[in-house]
Symmetry: C2
Subunit: 160 residues, 2 copies
DNA sequence: TGAATCTGGTTTTAAAATGCAACCCTATTC
DNA sequence: GAATAGGGTTGCATTTTAAAACCAGATTCA
């Protein structure tokens, strides 16, 4: 019996992971954010098996993270473009990259230096903040009682 | 041939996903953030198979996301606690949760209401910001040329 | 003392997922 | 009209996964 599904889980993290929580999906989204749009380009950049790439692209399209656009270039060609939902994964991808850079730095690679297109200045680390922008750690927060009941996940029983 | 590994990938997102990018690992981390520490508690809360839980806990300990602590309670009991590296996944987990709440809301569940322990006020959505705290989308940023060469991933060849 | 129980695992078995290579079809270029 | 590129699909061997059974040390219960 293979992978469990979490489509109907009451935990939104589980539901999110259901859509982008496997090895390749988030890397596809990452590359899409950097401008990749074509099947062959994803395939070559990621070194992913073609059938797996097909499956992931189709699933991301199903989940409306990507949209498949026919481009009239010459002949029948397609592009996979991020939707707003897909672009909304930006903080997650960047946070993951920063975490990777911080805790598993590649010896021969300086960390990502992403900059504001307007000002040219480096972005800051992605963090959880209170309403005023004060950074918060996991120890600084709590879940109010009404919510606490089914928190954090509630995925008690098998969902597949 | 099963899953490819990215341990030595030059892409820090790939390396991050190598450690916490599978179905269960991040859910384990999530529950750890909410206070779960014991094997049986993880098992019951997540509904995960015990062998998979063993494997994930061991891998997370190997990767120093969790540490296994012997607690002298009575007999040989263990607790799995987040390390600083593990707690540093907080923004990622929260961003994922917010994304799930926003784009795949559960009909019967209001979104996570996480609050600052001090002020009692709700946290804001996790976002990418410039140095001043101005929110940035994927379209607002660029990678300077020196970095751009091997960006975004560079994981061209098979790594496993 | 000894049976039941709790905790934290390991083993076994079957169904899926993955990776690779080979094949297919359309359209295009030489 | 042969070779090539884009975008897939199919088959097969290898891994992972899920579920449940089994195991072993320590503890409580009777």
């Amino acid at each position: 019996m293979a992978r469990k599904r979490f489509d109907d889980s009451s935990c939104s993290v589980a539901r999110a992971l259901n859509e982008v929580g496997d090895w390749w999906s988030l890397l596809v989204v990452l590359h899409a954010m950097y401008g990749t749009r074509r099947f062959v380009d994803f395939q070559q950049e990621l070194g992913i098996a073609r059938n797996i790439l097909c499956d992931r692209l189709a699933r991301l399209v199903d989940n409306e993270v990507l949209k498949k656009v026919e481009v009239g270039e010459h002949g029948s060609r397609f592009e996979y473009r991020l939707t707003e939902k897909g672009r909304d994964l930006f903080p997650i991808v960047i946070a993951l990259r920063q975490w990777g850079d911080k805790w598993n730095p590649a010896p021969d690679q300086e960390p990502l230096d992403l900059r504001d297109r307007e000002t040219g200045r480096t972005i800051r680390p992605v963090e959880v903040q209170d309403a005023d922008g004060k950074p918060l750690t996991v120890r600084d927060v709590f879940v109010p009682e009404e919510n606490n009941a089914r928190s954090p996940s509630g995925s008690k029983k098998k969902a597949g």
